[in-house]
């Protein structure tokens, strides 16, 4: 039976028209009749020979290609793809070829003392929080610059705020229900706690800095979303004795701070927060909902219900779509602008455990990475929902956090106490 089917496949030929939006290769347009069992590799060979015949390839470069059919990446043979999509073999299939995303290459594995719960990189440095209550700063080369005993409980979230010439500031959140804002001088490698932000009741779960780097939003298991500023608004002067603030500042001690906005609406702990625009914040939580908040009116403008408890959320800075990782093995792609019943426009299932973290590429609207409890981080293309582009292996325990804030580095922190760095050079 299988043999018979195989025969059928070999007999099936597909009319394939190759085209591209890449200017370099724009001239190469050609139509082939290919056997159905042609896969990516064969197509690539055909394409390269075709490009060579057009003298579009310079000998030095050796490009690799991926193929899109109807906006979806070809990962199987053409026949299987067309069968699954129910495309008639009679028609000419337009196959767009794009440059293949290069594989991320593992660079470093930085060992921590305890589980790495959160990680974020900027252009030069990696900030990582751990369950041993410390926050560490590393360079991408793996040299540890600083270990900061930041909190009295496991650090769960952190975020870079701003980067001056030699001054960096970041915010960290912890199980001790506090957010600390730190200022770090690279020259002297000295660190200073600017604010201690108290207000949350339970362990912090996520913190994110606003696009203008003047505010940050934090969410916690206590169902609250709180917005804090970096200026003097919300600085709590009443808790201590009256004329203290000036004295405190002189004595280089952190000021305590209260949120300027507190938004309640979730019925269970919030796990993810994302600053969509200056006035819009998206949160997602264990109560299966994604909520969009307007900061100006301080209202919940939209509520999207998922079927699973959401563990992580990210909003693409390019396309504005959300990704959620939930307490099943799927990564879901949402578009809140879709007015249909289902706002889930993509379902990426290759993980076998809960998806603990997702992170969009900062410059490519199609790429994102996800980390899961199945010890894997994966690089995905939105156009390939069944199979990820690459698996980022290396962890031997749950992946707790992934980060791709710096476009050339992917970071993942896991329960095996390691922080893995993958370098990535995006194709043009």
């Amino acid at each position: 039976m299988a043999a018979a089917q195989g025969d059928g496949l070999t007999q099936a030929h597909a009319q394939v028209k190759l085209f591209t939006k890449l200017k370099r290769y724009a001239a190469a347009k050609s139509t082939f009749s290919l056997p159905g069992e042609t896969g990516c590799a064969e197509l690539s060979k055909i394409l390269i020979s075709s490009l060579q015949s057009h003298d579009l390839l310079d000998d030095a470069s050796d490009p690799e290609f991926d193929f899109l059919i109807n906006g979806e990446l070809l990962r199987t043979t053409i026949a299987q793809f067309m069968e699954s999509k129910e495309i008639s073999t009679e028609e000419v299939v337009g196959v767009e070829f794009i440059l293949k995303q290069p594989s991320p290459s593992p660079e470093q594995s930085i060992l921590h003392n305890d589980w790495v719960s959160c990680v974020q990189g900027n252009s030069k440095y990696i900030l990582s929080g751990s369950y041993d209550h410390t926050v560490k700063i590393h360079t991408y080369e793996g040299t540890e610059l600083l270990t900061l005993p930041a909190h009295s409980a496991p650090v769960t979230c952190l975020s870079w705020i701003s980067s001056g010439d030699n001054t960096y500031s970041f915010v960290t959140g912890s199980h001790d229900q506090l957010l600390h804002v730190w200022q770090w001088e690279t020259d002297t490698n000295s660190i200073k706690c600017l604010y201690k932000c108290s207000g949350h009741a339970f362990a912090l779960s996520s913190v994110v800095t606003s696009p203008d780097n003047l505010q940050f939003a934090s969410v916690s298991r206590d169902k609250m979303l709180k917005i804090w500023t970096l200026d003097d608004r919300g600085v709590n002067v009443n808790t201590d004795d009256e004329g203290a603030p000036s004295k405190k500042r002189k004595s280089n001690e952190a000021q305590s701070k209260v949120p300027i906005i507190t938004l309640a609406g979730h019925s269970e702990g919030i796990m993810g927060v994302c600053w969509k625009a200056m006035s819009n914040i998206v949160t997602a939580g264990l109560d299966h909902t994604i909520r969009i908040w307007n900061l100006e009116t301080q209202t919940n403008t939209q509520t999207i219900t998922s079927s699973k408890a959401i563990l992580s959320l990210d909003c693409s800075p390019v396309s504005g779509r959300f990704l959620t990782g939930s307490s099943d093995r799927h990564v879901r792609l949402w578009d809140h602008r879709v007015k249909d019943s289902s706002m889930v426009i993509g379902n990426f299932s290759s993980h076998t455990g809960w998806v603990s973290s997702v992170f969009w590429s900062q410059d490519n609207e199609n790429l994102f990475i996800s980390g899961s409890y199945d010890n894997l981080a994966k690089l995905w293309d939105v156009r390939s929902p069944k199979t990820p582009l690459y698996d980022l292996t290396g962890h031997s325990d749950k992946v707790m956090a992934v980060d791709w804030s710096c476009p050339s580095y992917m970071l993942s922190g896991g329960a095996d106490n390691s922080l893995n760095i993958f370098s990535y050079k995006a194709s043009q």
Binding site: P154, F202, A203, L286, A309, S327, D328, W354
Partner: protein
């Protein structure tokens, strides 16, 4: 002269008739009453030409032909009309000739039938048929045998034929018997009698016989022997009134007899004869000598065939069947004596017997799990590893963020639920039998049963405010005066002790026997401890705020397995080996006694509504009690093959689960409806296998997450697993 004319005509027409060399005399005899016609045929002939409607040429010829007749030319001039001219008036002098003509016409049809060959054929049957349907005068059109022309008979002709047919004279004016009879009876009344005879005397005297007859009748009427018609009619009516004339023949028949009629069973049919019964059977059916001898030797009852097949040369040679009467009689006996009874066989589709189960997708949400690659075990979402021995009991905080687990390795561990991170570990001095997180979200306390003690621990997880408040609350609660004869002793860990600061131990309640199970009241002030083997002190209820303990029962009720508080009413459920007793704590009385049909209850869980209780037992059964329904189990599930260790019901979703020693955790959908009329719907939905069997034990405890459809199980393989 007439014969001459005919022969002439024949010659002229040149028909096939000429072949029949028939003499004119023969021809004449063919016509009826030809004898009459013979002499005056000439005149008839001339008249017959009138019917023929010949063309003028013909008529000329005809006139030429008939020129020797005596008729005048005027007669011919009147030919076309068959109504105006009554030809019979002309031949009044010669009636017989007319009759002969008519007879000839009437007999024509029969003649045609008999001698169709004799006449010239003009047109075939089809033409006749068409003619018959089209020509309204077909019925009176006849063919003149002499001329071969069709003649339409006039009305007078028809009338003549009618008269002849009815046996009258053809001419209506003919009076055959020309006699004037005197009419003897007439309407005129004569004044004189016809005869002169005087009237008889008897016509004046009343009749003696009549008198006698009348007298007899009068007498019989007087005596009532004879009745007048009116009387008779009346009597008949009375009689009819008395007993109905018609009566229901089957009125006395009861339902059974009628059903017998309805349920008629046809007699079984006699099997049709086969080849062996044939008079000329195929040779293989004929007996050989051995077969015949064998047939003769066997008993009549044992014979397969009760006859010997025989071959006859012809049907004629078949003798009469001598057993015919016997056979028929035997069959009658069969039909009569053999009871035929209708069997009530139910045609039930086996699939209809299976209870209607709802679609799995209607039961969502339940745990949606994926089988791992070996498809034997279910992939669990989070595995909590760290214990070194079997994990006896797990419990979740009321918000579902933390989990506490007590293990046989003498430790209690606190876990972060979502990440599987062990946050704290308490090392105690005995095996931990039970742990229970206080269900009140405003108190951060965990009760741990270790040996003879119940230790209250403030885990220090969650909201700091609540943690500190709990500590304050515990400090505030006044220790009672130590009385003699108390069942328990409460002791406090001093705030500077190592246990207090490092292990967060707060209070210790010491019992006389080892504590096997703890359950909290929903408000978090009371908790009940179950002691093993302590007789009437098996159940002790502790009040946290007053640090007081009381022993509610004075008599031992059996081996208490576990206790449970009703979620919202002051009821205490106490499960012994076979019974669950429900005590009303306010009235201090037994309000209900549920009877589980099992030998040894192992665990118990209550539905958040409070009306449904499930129990698991060591004899592999799970009982669902609907307390509104009965004290007997509403449903008993036997999905597991070994002892059930623990059961739990989800607080929000209609789910319940049971763990068993055979390694399976069965998750069932158990929907309880608000409508009291509707019984709970119980459908098994999932079987989970995650733990590794160690020392014959597998999954020990199961707990549902308070908010999510997640199930946590602890196992003998020292792990805790979360299934989502």
């Amino acid at each position: 002269m007439a014969t001459l004319a005919i022969s002439k005509k024949r010659q002229r027409e040149g028909t096939e008739h000429s072949s029949e060399s028939r003499s004119s005399k023969e021809e004449d005899t063919l016509f009826s009453s030809s004898a009459l016609a013979d002499s005056d045929y000439d005149s008839t002939d001339s008249e017959s030409s009138q019917f023929s409607g010949l063309s003028e040429d013909d008529s000329e010829e005809e006139s030429e032909t008939y020129s020797d007749t005596e008729h005048t030319p005027e007669e011919f001039q009147n030919q076309p009309s068959d109504i105006k001219i009554n030809e019979y008036e002309y031949d009044s002098s010669d009636e017989e000739a007319t009759i002969s003509l008519v007879c000839m016409v009437v007999g024509y049809k029969e003649y045609c039938g008999k001698h169709s060959n004799a006449l010239p054929q003009t047109g075939d049957e089809l033409d006749h048929l068409i003619e018959q349907s089209e020509n309204p005068d077909y019925w009176r059109t006849v063919k003149d045998p002499q001329t071969g022309q069709n003649i339409v008979l006039s009305r007078e002709d028809c009338a003549v034929i009618q008269r002849i047919k009815s046996g009258k004279y053809a001419d209506k004016d003919v009076n055959a018997f020309n006699i004037d009879w005197p009419s003897s009876f007439e309407s005129e009344v004569e004044i004189h009698p016809l005869s002169n005879r005087p009237e008889d005397k008897r016509s004046f005297i009343p009749s003696k016989w009549e008198r006698l007859k009348v007298g007899k009748m009068v007498h019989s009427m007087k005596m009532g022997w004879m009745k007048t018609p009116s009387q008779r009619k009346k009597e008949l009516e009375e009689k009819n009134d008395e007993d109905d004339h018609y009566y229901d023949l089957w009125s006395n028949e009861d339902e059974n007899d009628r059903s017998r009629l309805k349920m008629h069973i046809p007699a079984p049919k006699i099997t049709l004869p086969g080849h062996a019964e044939s008079y000329n059977p195929p040779p293989e059916y004929l007996f050989s000598k051995e077969e015949r001898s064998k047939w003769q030797e066997t008993d009549k009852e044992d014979r397969r065939q009760d006859f010997v097949p025989h071959k006859y040369s012809s049907m004629r040679a078949i003798p009469a069947f001598k057993n015919f009467m016997n056979e028929r009689f035997a069959r009658c006996l069969d039909l009569y004596l053999c009871p035929r009874q209708q069997k009530m066989r139910m045609n039930v589709n086996p699939e209809d017997l299976i209870p209607k189960l709802p679609q799995p997708k209607d039961l969502q949400p339940f745990l949606q799990l994926r089988l791992s690659h070996d498809s034997m075990t279910v992939e669990c979402s989070v595995v909590y590893t760290g214990h070194k021995d079997l994990v006896r009991k797990i419990s979740l905080d009321p918000l579902g963020q933390w989990m506490v687990s007590g293990s046989d390795d003498k430790t209690v561990k606190f876990w972060e639920l979502h990440t599987g991170r062990c946050m704290k570990t308490l090392v105690l001095d005995d095996k931990v039998k039970s742990v229970a997180w206080c269900p009140n979200a405003n108190i951060s306390l965990v009760a741990v049963a270790v040996g003879n003690h119940v230790i209250l621990v403030n885990p220090g997880l969650g909201d700091k405010l609540i943690v500190t408040k709990t500590d304050e609350l515990l400090a505030e609660s006044s220790p009672p005066e130590q009385e003699k004869g108390l069942v328990t002793t409460w002791s406090e860990y001093t705030s500077d002790s190592q246990e207090f600061t490092e292990s967060n131990l707060r209070l210790k309640v010491t019992h006389s026997k080892s504590v096997s199970q703890i359950s909290w009241h929903a408000k978090g002030d009371y908790f009940a401890a179950t002691l093993s083997g302590a007789g009437n002190q098996s159940v002790i209820i502790h009040q946290l705020s007053k640090r007081r303990s009381q022993c509610p029962f004075s008599k031992p009720k059996g081996l208490v397995q576990c206790t449970l508080f009703h979620p919202n009413k002051p009821f205490l459920f106490v499960a012994t080996q076979r019974y669950i007793r429900v005590y009303n704590l306010l009235k201090q009385e037994l309000s209900r006694k549920l009877q589980a049909n099992c030998k040894w209850i192992s665990s118990m869980a209550i539905h958040p509504g409070g009306d449904n209780v499930i129990t698991g037992s060591y004899d592999c059964r799970l009982h669902w009690f609907d307390m509104d329904l009965s004290t007997k189990p509403y449903q008993t599930l036997k999905h597991q093959k070994k002892a059930i260790r623990s059961v739990d019901i989800h607080k929000k979703y209609p789910l319940f689960a049971s763990t068993s020693d055979d390694g399976s955790v069965v998750v069932c959908h158990g929907m309880v409806y608000n409508d009291l009329m509707q019984n709970p719907l119980i459908v098994p939905v999932k079987v989970l296998r995650g733990h590794v069997t160690t020392n014959g034990l597998n999954a020990i405890d199961c707990v549902f997450h308070p908010n999510q459809p997640w199930l946590l199980t602890s196992g003998a393989d020292s792990t805790i697993r979360l299934f989502s």
